[in-house]
Symmetry: C2
Subunit: 144 residues, 2 copies
């Protein structure tokens, strides 16, 4: 999660909402790739950290699935990202802060309770305070 937080800090400095993600190979705990939110950079509101991570990892692995991997992400995934993580069959999700507005694993809804989804294991609240404060600071700075 430390590397995911470093990615979130990169986003912060680039004036993107500070959310970072890392994908790890469960076989040997090596990092496959890391990413941060690039909505402004890529001029595209779907370019969340998780979507970019999945694109990079599928390219790298030349595989449409990301079997036996774990994603670490600083904020609870939204509906789009939770469904994307399931589509590529990532095995475990570790997230930092809970997102009461849009979090789709525990907060707004539990999307994997719907039928038809590949269901990853979910572990929330990892380094929650630090992950949350990064986002809180960003929006406080934006307002001031």
């Amino acid at each position: 999660m430390n590397i995911a937080k470093e990615e979130a800090k990169k986003a912060y400095l680039l004036d993107e909402v500070p959310i970072g993600a890392v994908l790890v190979d469960n076989e040997n705990n090596s990092i496959i790739c890391s990413s941060h939110n690039e909505i402004n950079k890529q001029n595209n509101s779907i370019k969340h950290a998780e979507i970019i991570l999945i694109e990079n990892a599928c390219n790298k692995r030349k595989s449409k699935y990301l079997d036996n991997t774990s994603i670490f992400v600083t904020l609870e995934p939204c509906t789009m990202c939770a469904a994307a993580i399931s589509a590529v069959q990532i095995k475990r999700i570790y997230f930092g802060a809970y997102d009461e507005q849009k979090g789709s694993l525990e907060s707004l809804m539990k999307i994997y309770n719907q039928k038809g989804f590949f269901v990853p294991e979910v572990y929330g609240g990892i380094n929650e305070i630090e992950c949350k404060n990064l986002i809180k600071d960003f929006f406080q700075r934006q307002r001031s």
Copy 2:
């Protein structure tokens, strides 16, 4: 929807699940871009027709939102795509066949009933039979 069906047929010939999509500018009814499912081509299970369409259209418009546009897609969007369409604020969704397994606008769930979503207008069942038969034929051919 005819152009979306042509895109679906292109996918069929390329051994991709035949789903096509078109984005139209509501101002003047001009086509912004069209796409089809490229999961195998791009080796990535999130490369649904709608995701590729959104990427191409945001690039073309150099905008993170796709205000005042309509998407025509041959199959009812899944959860990921429905959430992505909402994230870029596409105004209207016209879809062909209903998807009882994964359709997230009317079938499996009504995702926009959850709070926190930009809610597009939804019109389902446009050229339903033709859109459905394309997919049915594809899977029948795969099995034989």
